[in-house]
């Protein structure tokens, strides 16, 4: 018989370590975990880095040349030279109309028959700009950009009736992202998505897996405490999420050429703060449902989709309806994305970071509290 044993109620580092070793061994042995933690983030990052771009470069535009005078050719050359347009030169409007209906082009610039004559007589000529109103944002962009090209061209011509240049010249500069490259704010957002996936979706599976495979029962019949159990579920995925974030940041800087103007300390502090609600939500969903399928579905709907749609990552929050704006305040990623974007593009702005970190920790606390409430050492429902 074994001798008297120590009381086991207290937190025991040795048991935690044993559970961690087990958890890591399972992660290493399960290829799907790696798929979610590494392959999926890379896929997302490259998708947002290369595939999706909110910049309107290379928009297809048709220039209909009803006139072939030198000024008309000069204007069409200006359109070709614009980086925003990829120009097809056509001879008649009917063809342009067909292409617009077919969705091949987003806009038409018509240079009319008397264009050359008007220029010749010293009058400001007129052109027609037609856009595809079925995509309003693109149409707006095409209209204003086509107008801009025309005005730049006109400014170089000595027209008597040309509008006088204003006495005050407004010169626009975009700070922090001078090229207004959408990639610069999409990639930090993608990193937030990646942390949501690794933090919430993976943890959503882990406790439910123990229930489904019947190991929870055996574990609960050992002297392990529930605090040790929950800790053993958080720690591995915390590090896994940080690792996958680190890979993403490295790729963002090296491959996508993003600046990283903040400090690494700030990056890890902010990421850790965000992982608290991320891991907490996953854990809560997992413990409450005890079913991997349901947990992953809820995890997806409760974390991934809001992060995607409501965090200001793709759609700017100020342009949302007011009641939806109110909802965004309970999405933890809302506090992460501005911080990340600032870290990349501006630098350490602690006056912005600290309130965001505080909010993320608050949500984290709520989820952990709920997780402890639902993880009872009991099979009673």
């Amino acid at each position: 018989m074994s001798g008297p044993r120590k009381p086991s109620k207290r937190f025991d580092y040795r048991r935690l370590r044993a559970m961690l070793v087990k958890e890591f061994a399972q992660i290493v042995r399960d290829p799907s975990t790696f798929l979610v933690a590494l392959a999926l983030p890379l896929l997302l990052l490259f998708m947002f880095g290369y595939g999706i771009s909110l910049d309107m470069t290379g928009t297809r535009l048709a220039v209909v040349m009803e006139d072939s005078s030198a000024p008309a050719l000069g204007l069409s050359q200006s359109y070709r030279a614009s980086p925003y347009f990829k120009v097809d030169v056509l001879r008649d409007r009917a063809e342009a109309r067909r292409q617009m209906i077919g969705g091949k082009i987003k806009g038409v610039v018509v240079i009319p028959q008397d264009f050359g004559r008007q220029v010749h007589e010293g009058h400001m000529p007129t052109i027609q700009i037609v856009t595809d109103g079925s995509e309003p944002n693109t149409a707006q962009f095409v209209a204003s950009e086509a107008q801009g090209v025309f005005q730049t061209w006109a400014a170089a011509e000595p027209f008597a009736d040309a509008p006088k240049p204003p006495s005050i010249e407004i010169s626009t500069r975009f700070w922090y992202n001078p090229g207004l490259k959408s990639r610069f704010f999409l990639v930090p957002g993608a990193i937030a998505i990646v942390m949501t996936i690794v933090g919430t979706l993976l943890t959503a599976l882990v406790v439910a897996r123990e229930w489904e495979r019947g190991t929870m029962e055996a574990i609960m019949a050992t002297p392990i405490t529930m605090v040790e159990f929950i800790a053993s579920k958080i720690v591995p995925y915390y590090f896994l999420a940080l690792a996958s974030m680190t890979v993403c940041v490295a790729i963002a800087v090296t491959i996508f050429g993003l600046p990283f103007r903040g400090s690494l300390v700030a990056l890890y502090v902010i990421a850790s703060a965000f992982l608290m609600p991320g891991l907490g939500l996953g854990l809560f969903v997992s413990s409450a449902t005890k079913n991997q399928f349901v947990a992953s579905q809820i995890g997806l709907i409760a974390s991934f989709l809001p992060t995607f749609l409501l965090s200001g990552f793709l759609y700017e929050i100020p342009s949302m309806p007011v009641w939806i704006q109110a909802i965004t305040y309970i999405i933890p990623a809302r506090y992460l994305i501005p911080s990340l974007q600032t870290l990349f593009l501006t630098g350490d702005v602690w006056s912005l970071f600290l309130p965001n970190i505080a909010m993320m920790l608050l949500f984290g606390f709520v989820y952990f509290f709920l997780s402890f409430r639902v993880t009872k050492r009991s099979l009673d429902t």
């Binding site: 018989m1 044993a18 019947g214 002297p223 009991s378």
Partner: protein, 584 residues
């Protein structure tokens, strides 16, 4: 076996009541019991009796609504250090190796580092798993998983071990080995609670608690229950009548309360106080002989439950007569199924004449269900041919399926639908026309006594009723062929008797039955059986013929079907090992 003189109770439960939300009756209804040091205490009963609930309460995983539970005088939750608990699914991490599983439990139970090597090598020797230390637990056979599960609970010798149905689904050889291992543990003074639905295991316990529907039916040494049937078991041989109709007729006699087929003989239990009847009174020819039989624990159980059912099946009386035919109703010719490199079933060969019961016996994972699923058209064979009611599986699988009734393992019903909705669904699935469907449904309700349960969700039915409903769903369209996959797994013996009464009746109407089972005594109902082991048929013949083979192999004079099974599997293992040696 040395038993300590003073038997201190290691664990005790007093008048425990446990209700689950939504459950009509309490899962445990005033159960009291004790587990003593150095003894194997059996917790016996069919599925749903409350065994697992009681074990979980003792393990501190559930709270009793009423009553007291104590381990060594303390609350269970305070005594987890002294407890070894093996849940039904063993609680192993299948994606970890044998060694990693042991390591985990050793750390969780705070095994001193310096004792580790010695403990592990002792446990690995004890469980014969030393060779498999680096194998993933998920890749172990059922029997090896069970031994590893046991080892994990033993990393620090506990005072109390709770084993929840450790023998279920494992082949008889592994079950016997496990029993021997656990018996060794009693020498160390460990108190063992062994829960089981196998009544033959109950007979070997030092003391048993017999549970049924949450109530304690019996408590004491198993022999005491068996003794109640002393002198009342008779063996009938030499009767000049087909055994199934004869059993049915015999069970209708007032002085017989239970009877089963044992190969060519009948085993009967007499009503208490009835004299042993004259052979002539059975009116089955001059050759009829009566011999005394050995009572078993099961006889006592049936006796407590008030005897088995009578012999006439209302289901069979309502069934159409299947026109006789000369061609085999079910045929397998070299049926083979491969999953990658793994051959799940190899060269299955049998032809089942119409109006017979054919049994596929074997441990879990042996290939029974694979063979079965190929014949129902649920898996397409990798090789060979099969036919059901003359319909070739390759060319007319749909026709083959239409001519059979299928009762799946675990009684696959729609748990969220009511009993009535389930019956409606299966009537629709089998294409019954509306008036036929209504007639069939009414008949099933009456035969299986489902009338007052029509609006209950199937998932909430007691197991016995689930089984009846599953059978009802399978026979609503009166198919000529029935496929039964583990049809009596876990149900109490009286429900099992009722089930076989129906099946026997149907067979008399010309229905052909293919059944898989790991209850060896049920094999006795079959006309022919095939023993399946490691994907191959290792023996085929009548139950009596297989037992005779066992007589020559083991030189025991009256082997049970299980003895025969063990002997034949050991013989097959010997042959395979010899072949492997020759090949090497």
């Amino acid at each position: 076996m040395p038993v300590p003189a003073a038997l201190e109770p290691i664990a005790s439960a007093a008048s425990v009541v446990k209700r689950f939300p939504g459950g009509a009756a309490p899962a445990l209804n005033g159960v009291s019991m004790t587990v003593e040091a150095g003894r194997i205490t059996g917790l016996v009963g069919p599925d749903g009796a409350g065994k697992t609930t009681l074990i979980r309460i003792l393990a501190g995983l559930l709270h009793a609504d009423e009553g007291e539970v104590a381990i060594l005088g303390h609350k269970p939750i305070e005594m987890l250090d002294q407890l070894g608990y093996m849940p039904q699914r063993f609680g192993l991490y299948e994606d970890l190796t044998v060694r990693q599983n042991l390591d985990l439990y050793a750390e969780l139970r705070a095994l001193p580092e310096e004792d580790k090597e010695e403990t592990f090598s002792r446990l690995l020797r004890f469980t014969d798993l030393a060779r498999f230390q680096d194998r993933l637990a998920g890749k172990l056979s059922g029997g090896m998983k069970q031994k590893l599960g046991l080892a994990c609970t033993l990393v620090r010798t506990p005072r109390l071990m709770l084993l929840d149905e450790p023998g279920v689904g494992v082949d008889p050889i592994s079950r016997r080995e496990l029993w021997a291992m656990v018996q060794d543990l009693t020498d160390e003074g460990i108190g063992i609670l062994w829960s089981t639905a196998y009544l033959d295991e109950a007979e070997k316990c030092d003391r048993v608690y017999l549970l049924n529907e949450g109530k304690l039916l019996f408590d004491g040494p198993p022999g005491e229950l068996t003794d109640r049937a002393e002198g009342r078991v008779i063996q009938l041989t030499g009767f000049g009548e087909a055994r199934r109709p004869f059993l049915s007729r015999t069970l209708d006699r007032p002085d017989i309360i239970d009877g089963t087929i044992q190969g060519r003989s009948l085993r009967l239990l007499l009503r208490d106080g009835s004299p042993v009847p004259e052979p002539a009174s059975f009116e089955a020819g001059a050759g009829t002989r009566i011999a005394k039989g050995q009572p078993r624990f099961e006889d006592g159980f049936i006796e407590i439950l008030g005897g088995g059912p009578k012999g006439t099946s209302a289901l069979a009386e309502n069934y159409r007569v299947i026109p006789p035919s000369d061609r085999p109703a079910i045929e397998a010719k070299g049926l083979t199924k491969r999953f990658g490199d793994f051959v799940a079933a190899r060269d299955m060969d049998f032809a089942i004449p119409q109006g017979q019961i054919y049994g596929l016996l074997g441990p879990n994972g042996a290939g029974k269900s694979t063979t079965f699923k190929m014949l129902c058209g649920l898996l397409s064979p990798s090789g060979g041919q099969g036919a059901v009611a003359g319909n070739d599986l390759r060319h007319s699988a749909a026709e083959a399926r239409a001519s059979l009734g299928y009762m799946a393992q675990k009684f696959s019903l729609y748990g969220e639908l009511s009993v009535g909705q389930n019956l409606d669904f299966f009537a629709g699935a089998y294409n019954l026309r509306r008036p036929d469907a209504r007639r069939a449904k009414d008949a099933m309700c009456e035969i299986f006594d489902l009338g007052d349960k029509l609006n209950m969700n199937a998932g909430e039915l007691p197991l016995g009723f689930k089984q009846r409903l599953a059978l009802a769903a399978a026979v609503m369209h009166q198919p000529p062929v029935l496929f039964l996959d583990e049809p009596t797994s876990g149900v109490d013996p009286v429900t099992r008797r009722m089930f076989w009464t129906h099946i026997n009746g149907l067979v008399e109407k010309g229905v052909t039955v293919l059944v898989t089972t790991h209850f060896m005594d049920e094999a006795e109902y079959c006309d022919d059986v095939s023993l399946i082991y490691r994907g191959e048929q290792i023996a085929t013949g009548t139950p009596d013929a297989l037992k005779e083979q066992a007589v020559t192999l083991t030189e025991s004079d009256d082997p049970t079907m299980e003895d025969a099974f063990v002997a034949l599997i050991e013989e097959s293992d010997r042959r395979r090992e010899a072949d492997e040696r020759d090949a090497a």
